[in-house]
């Protein structure tokens, strides 16, 4: 039998598997508790997951490129604080959002520049970023939450379009853009190539510098977008928002089948991974399961997903 064909299948297989796990989860929760599948709960679930969901999209690209971004939570907080400060000072909402997004891009770009030019491992650079950007957010606000955002902005957290929460729609849009970028753009192709073999990519004439800059800038951008959603949800800019998100996002990405060594993975997988984690905590909460137990279950699931992957690969090769 042909190993290659099977392996390729396993990659797709993983997305299918993880999707099935999600469906099974949803079905079992809805059987166990009829409140779970209510329109209200599902839309609520989508809304509360949207912020980490957006962060995970940028993270997926970075991990596919063979890197990692530990600074996402801090960039999220910084951007959310910047947006809030601007709005409170009377800057138009739209302009505040744009500036906040740009600040996220710049934060990511800066890390990308250091990673590429100084050849410092992404883990180290973004670990420093985690510290630095959180610190800046704290300094900007005196460690206090910024309140008094314009109502028009804060309302976004509760706005619904065709019954769907606005925040979830933003997330779904970003997923679609992410899928398009990963599958249909030169940027996407190059990111996979770099993650699979950076030296081969370089010798093939791919501009590694541009790709690395862009992928970290993209990570900053999605973190900033998540920060704006966060500001709307909290009705303010909190400098402590998003702490620990880096690990949640990495968990979702890995659960979704993206390889931590780069080159393999996809956005849909991450979407399913994010949803599984959210579904377990949401469904578990409804059923009154101790949230600490839920955390243990999620941890086990992550390991199982990767082990299952390895077993399948080994069995067939």
């Amino acid at each position: 039998m042909d190993i290659g064909k099977i392996k390729k299948k396993t990659a797709r297989f993983h997305e299918m598997n993880i999707f099935l796990v999600l469906i099974v989860l949803i079905i079992s929760f809805s059987i166990m508790n009829n409140r779970f599948l209510s329109f209200g709960n599902i839309t609520n679930l989508l809304r509360s997951t949207s912020i980490i969901g957006v962060v995970s999209i940028g993270m997926t690209f970075i991990i596919i490129s063979g890197g990692i971004d530990l600074s996402v939570g801090s960039v999220l907080a910084l951007s959310s604080v910047i947006a809030a400060k601007l709005m409170v000072s009377g800057t138009p909402i739209f302009l505040s959002i744009i500036i906040s997004l740009i600040s996220g891009i710049l934060a990511g770009l800066l890390m990308g520049i250091i990673i590429y030019e100084a050849r410092v491992p992404p883990f180290i650079v973004t670990l420093a970023g985690l510290s630095v950007f959180r610190g800046i957010a704290m300094l900007l606000t005196g460690a206090k939450k910024i309140v008094g955002l314009p109502e028009n902005f804060a309302n976004f957290a509760v706005v619904r379009v065709f019954g769907l929460p606005g925040m979830a729609i933003v997330w779904l849009l970003i997923i679609i853009i992410g899928v398009i970028m990963a599958r249909y753009t030169v940027f996407g192709r190059n990111i996979y190539a770099i993650g699979s073999n950076q030296e081969a990519a370089r010798l093939s004439g791919i501009n590694i510098r541009a790709s690395i800059y862009r992928v970290y800038a993209l990570g900053g951008l999605t973190s900033a977008a998540a920060g704006i959603l966060m500001a709307a949800r909290l009705c303010g800019g909190s400098p402590s928002a998003g702490s620990g998100y880096e690990l949640d996002a990495i968990a979702a990405v890995v659960l979704g089948g993206t390889s931590l060594t780069g080159g393999i993975g996809g956005i849909f997988g991450t979407f399913f991974g994010t949803m599984i984690i959210a579904t377990i905590s949401n469904g578990g909460n409804i059923m009154g399961i101790n949230p600490f137990v839920l955390e243990i279950i999620i941890g086990i699931l992550i390991v199982l997903a990767v082990v299952f992957d390895h077993i399948q690969k080994n069995k067939r090769s």
């Binding site: 390729k8 996407g188 004439g205 791919i206």
Partner: protein, 499 residues
């Protein structure tokens, strides 16, 4: 004689089936005490598969292995180590950041009566072993800091120290200078005297004649012969290896254009290469020949922008170009085929299609969006024209054979319509059949007016393909010979620094 030199290992009727390929077919092989048994064969003949089975890295599909006439199953490398079979090519038990002495005692560090490490004993014993083998290395040296040759010697010494009964040498001289090679042979002969059974694999046939007692010839997974070395000669061995006339293998139709496509002037990099000059015409195949570390690879990479140089100029189609990175090189119509395909030429986790288009995405896209139809078309076309054997364009490259992988690398540059192909060891690690196919492709390329710069340390191939060869020794250009002046002896002399 036979009674004296007791058999250590016997492999009987070994078969190894890989998906789609029968890598070994009914192969017998044995090693005696104090015997140096050579294995020769073209790439893909099954040499490494046989060795991997012996070292426990692979399991045979069928067949038996006997150690001291007792049947044994070498289910993993640890079993191999326990029955004292060692291989020099890649010792997993070597730690690069530790010293020579520490490596010798890895896993069994001697302790003094206080339970602390007995450094004195370690150093003493290490010095003893090194002296016994006449290896001049400081036992306190960190392995990483040794030269390739020294590392190899240390590796051998370690296996000797561990009293391995069989030591496998897989292309041991690939990274060695001729002086180091002499040194290596001295040590191997010493091991032989001590009764170690030695398996010696090399592409360099002359070496096999110099050192081996017996030689086994493999071809296409079958054992063709197992003969005492003094009953054959180089021609006899080669004709057994290839099973065809070697003269046919390296012949291509040469082109005779007078228009230059690439000119390199005064290319220099302090301490690496100095004042390199050459011109390649449309349709030309230009050979860069040098022994390992002569600087040929660095020169090629400097032209391609992947290695910096201090001074000199490069002209393409008589226009001066500044190539400071591979991506600029690609824009100028250059393509680079590195020797190590897996680490430098291919993104092995990705599909054949993705790899074929790897350097062309900017040409088959609009506003950053890839034209999927063109991408597919490119892939299909090249799979067909280069006869890349793959079930589909979606196949992961990792699972192709070496020859097909090399074709994928070639395909990448064909799609990109590059004009100058820089080819490092074009047929290293690929089988005879694919070799010929690749030569045919080269022939086609030069016919279309492309030029090829070929870096090879394998003279017969280079002499067969190139229409000019420049020889580099320690970064110096020793001379350039055109086709009618080619002479193996002369080229080797130049490459060894003899003017």
């Amino acid at each position: 004689m036979v009674l004296e030199n007791k058999e250590i290992i016997r492999m009987e009727g070994i078969y190894k089936q890989f998906p789609g390929v029968l890598a070994l077919e009914n192969v017998d092989f044995q090693v005696h005490k104090g015997q140096i048994h050579g294995i020769v064969g073209e790439n893909g003949a099954g040499k490494s598969t046989l060795i991997k089975i012996l070292t426990g890295a692979l399991q045979p599909t069928s067949g038996d292995i006997f150690v001291d006439s007792k049947k044994i199953i070498i289910s993993n490398p640890i079993v191999a180590r326990n029955i004292q079979i060692g291989a020099v090519y890649q010792d997993l038990t070597i730690a690069k950041d530790l010293t020579v002495a520490e490596n010798f005692f890895l896993g069994q560090i001697p302790r003094n009566r206080f339970g602390f490490i007995d450094w004195k004993k370690m150093i003493q014993k290490t010095v003893e072993v090194l002296r016994e083998l006449n290896i001049e290395v400081d036992p306190n040296m960190i392995l990483e800091k040794l030269t390739a040759a020294q590392k190899e010697m240390v590796l051998i010494a370690k296996q000797y120290f561990k009293q391995y009964r069989v030591i496998i040498f897989d292309e041991p001289t690939a990274l060695l200078t001729s002086k180091d090679t002499e040194e290596l042979f001295r040590i191997i002969k010493k091991l032989k005297k001590e009764g170690v059974g030695i398996i010696y694999i090399s592409h360099r046939i002359e070496e096999v004649f110099e050192i081996c007692d017996t030689v086994t010839v493999l071809r296409d997974g079958k054992k063709i012969a197992c003969i005492p070395i003094n009953e054959t000669d180089i021609d006899g061995l080669i004709s057994r290896m290839v099973g065809r006339n070697i003269d046919d293998m390296y012949s291509i139709t040469h082109q005779h254009s007078k228009n230059e496509i690439l000119r390199v002037e005064n290319l220099s990099k302090t301490g690496v290469f100095n004042n390199i000059n050459f011109t390649v015409n449309h349709g030309g195949v230009f050979g860069l020949f040098g022994l390992v570390n002569s600087g040929t690879t660095k020169i090629a990479r400097a032209i391609y922008g992947s290695e910096k140089f201090d001074q000199g100029n490069i002209y393409i189609d008589s226009k001066k170009v500044r190539i400071s990175s591979p991506s600029i090189a690609v824009d100028n119509g250059l393509g680079f085929l590195p020797e190590d395909k897996k680490t430098e030429g291919l993104a092995v986790k990705l599909s054949v299609k993705h790899n074929i288009n790897l350097s062309s995405y900017s040409n088959i896209s609009r506003m950053g969006f890839v034209n999927g139809k063109l991408e597919n078309k490119n892939a299909q076309q090249l799979i067909k024209s280069l006869r890349i054997r793959t079930p589909s364009a979606e196949q992961i490259v990792l699972n192709l054979s070496g020859g097909n992988q090399q074709k994928v690398v070639l395909a990448k540059w064909l799609v990109n319509q590059c004009k100058i192909f820089i080819f490092e060891e074009p047929t290293a690690g690929i089988d005879v059949g694919s070799k010929e196919e690749i030569y045919k492709i080269l022939e086609l390329l030069i016919k279309k007016g492309s030029a090829i710069v070929m870096i090879s340390s394998y003279l017969p191939e280079l002499m067969g393909l190139a229409d000019q060869i420049t020889v580099v020794y320690e970064g110096k250009q020793m001379g350039t010979l055109s086709r009618n002046e080619f002479d193996e002896k002369r080229l080797l002399q130049l490459a060894s620094g003899v003017l």
